[in-house]
Symmetry: C2
Subunit: 360 residues, 2 copies
């Protein structure tokens, strides 16, 4: 239920819910005075931005949003669940992180096509008791993500529910014909990965192990788990320079996402454990190298880009792109299976052990 909040008189005068009958001096309450309308007002405020103009012509508040596509570009469309209990826990994940991450995950899919995010729809189901503090903090995180990714809130749908359900649809654009699909990898292509793998999964282990996570923790693994950064600029660069033959973002773990890329391309892959980029902190900590490798191979939530490059083009791939390391981890084969060269130099079959919600 909406609460009256004190605000300066001048601001109150211009509050959108304050309607003024023409030729009358009586202030009327909004004729649509529902809890849902209250939530929509908050979303409308969160959608205000000083960011660069996007092609969004009509945003929140109508039956649908209107977006003017640029000629010569294709539209990239993706959506993602982010559900309490499945993808986050309200007692462990700060609402700012939930707001950031629900958008970052979907933006990462646009990055994996080589596209630029433009706007997004937010479907939000909430308990009524979350309409105040929780929602405000959630929207702060969401708004910061929207600003960082240059992706405007265009609309959505809201309802009440006894637990928090989030679905985000991101609309992006990519120059026509330049999108990098999963299906283009060819035998002998080199396999590259951006950033470092396993850190977000280690952050999740910390979240699971601790009863209460301090919301201002500066632990790097926690930050990676809470505030992942989709690799939009790298994806665009690879697509515009036509360097990648296939690309996918690592959301469910390297082993599972590499298997998906290979299956779409009808090829296989051989990767080398020792070449998989793992964070420096791992080397300093005690857990043995093998369990570190497991995190890097099967841990999800990294949102790094996995891409393939024709052998004769690999010299054009720098060691790092705008500070983000790029590592060559293996090669595409024509034998349709995944192989891993382990630390002991022996070749083993690599099972797809990443995140599968239907397992177990």
């Amino acid at each position: 239920v909406p609460k009256a909040r004190s605000r300066p008189k001048s601001a109150r005068k211009h509050h959108p819910a304050t309607l003024r009958a023409k030729g009358s001096h009586v202030r009327l309450p909004s004729i649509v005075n529902t809890g849902e309308e209250y939530l929509v007002q908050k979303l409308r405020r969160a959608a205000r931005t000083k960011a660069r103009e996007t092609a969004l012509r009509v945003g929140i508040g109508d039956d649908a949003a209107l977006f003017t596509p640029r000629s010569g570009y294709e539209t990239v469309l993706t959506c993602d669940w982010f559900l309490q209990g499945t993808h986050f826990l309200t007692e462990k994940h700060p609402p700012e992180s939930i707001g950031w991450k629900c958008l970052a995950r979907a933006v990462s899919d646009v990055a994996a096509m080589g596209g630029q995010p433009q706007c997004f729809l937010l479907s939000l189901a909430l308990p009524a008791s979350y309409l105040e503090n929780w929602l405000d903090a959630f929207l702060r995180g969401l708004r910061r993500a929207a600003h960082t990714f240059g992706c405007r809130l265009a609309g959505g749908d809201t309802t009440r529910r006894d637990n928090i359900l989030i679905n985000v649809t991101v609309v992006g654009e990519v120059r026509a014909g330049r999108a990098v699909l999963r299906a283009g990898a060819r035998p002998k292509d080199a396999i590259f990965v951006s950033g470092q793998l396993g850190e977000a999964a280690f952050g999740l282990q910390l979240v699971r192990a601790h009863r209460q996570i301090p919301s201002h923790s500066r632990n790097v693994a926690l930050q990676r788990h809470f505030y992942p950064e989709p690799r939009v600029a790298l994806g665009r660069w690879l697509s515009e320079k036509r360097l990648a033959t296939a690309m996918i973002d690592i959301s469910d773990g390297l082993s599972t996402d590499l298997a998906r890329l290979c299956e779409a391309s009808r090829v296989g892959a051989k990767i080398t454990g020792a070449s998989i980029p793992m964070p420096r902190a791992f080397r300093l900590r005690k857990p043995n190298r093998l369990s570190q490798l497991k995190l890097a191979l099967h841990g999800g939530d990294d949102y790094e880009l996995l891409f393939t490059v024709p052998n004769r083009q690999t010299s054009r791939i720098p060691d790092s792109f705008r500070g983000l390391p790029l590592s060559r981890i293996g090669v595409i084969s024509n034998e349709q299976r995944l192989r891993l060269v382990d630390f002991d130099g022996r070749e083993r079959t690599l099972p797809a052990y990443g995140w599968d919600p239907f397992r177990g």
Copy 2:
């Protein structure tokens, strides 16, 4: 967990999950063999269509879908929740209806902008036990709706959940500058509504009152509740002929959706109870006219179009459009409130009593 199903040998040979190593005669299992992959395979089959070519270039199975927008058109974007317990009950609503209706509801928002639906994303969360019979029936209903509305399944996201969660995003197009918004109504514009109101809400009363609904019932009110028909052709006609100044679809009830249109346009409205189109069956049944009127005013789920037309253009609105009755029910006023002329001829304030998930 995927079940082996018998199929003719020739079909098995071409099954997409059957990979064949190049130069080998050994049939290998899919390298991505997860429960989620099984669900995605079913969705991929459901997405196959003989319908007219849409602008969908890449559909299910990549990180995102690719859609080629037509030049001179704007993109219409909308999404809708459809949640077990909130919007449907698995023990009362046939899965075919759930599949049809989750898409119909979102398509209706595109119709209310005067747009043509093109493709959609389906986010589906399911218990593992629903992956067989329930999912197959759901996809039959969804596929029939997709075919009927000319709207192709382009992608989505799937996960496991202890109850069924559905979110549908529809992407449509409308000629640039021709979209009909909520905000264009002007004082003295006539108010029109398509079809008949209250029948779907009466269907919901039947669903609530009966323990078990026969899935093949031909009851008209039940059919309206189970299989609503978004008014895409009417919406497009009104937009292309530039006849409507404002438009909204009636999803939450006439009183609430009229209030939304008026609020967006900063106007009010006066409607006449006797002119509100109600189904013939209502007149034959015993419930008094007043409770019928309540269903028509505040019952949701009709998905008819509510639109305003400048007074000098009203002669261009026919009594029916392709068999769908169009009724003039009132007039826009500059006093920002809703008034109803009741059956007794007395004017009363009309409260927005439609569906509000946050009420109570």
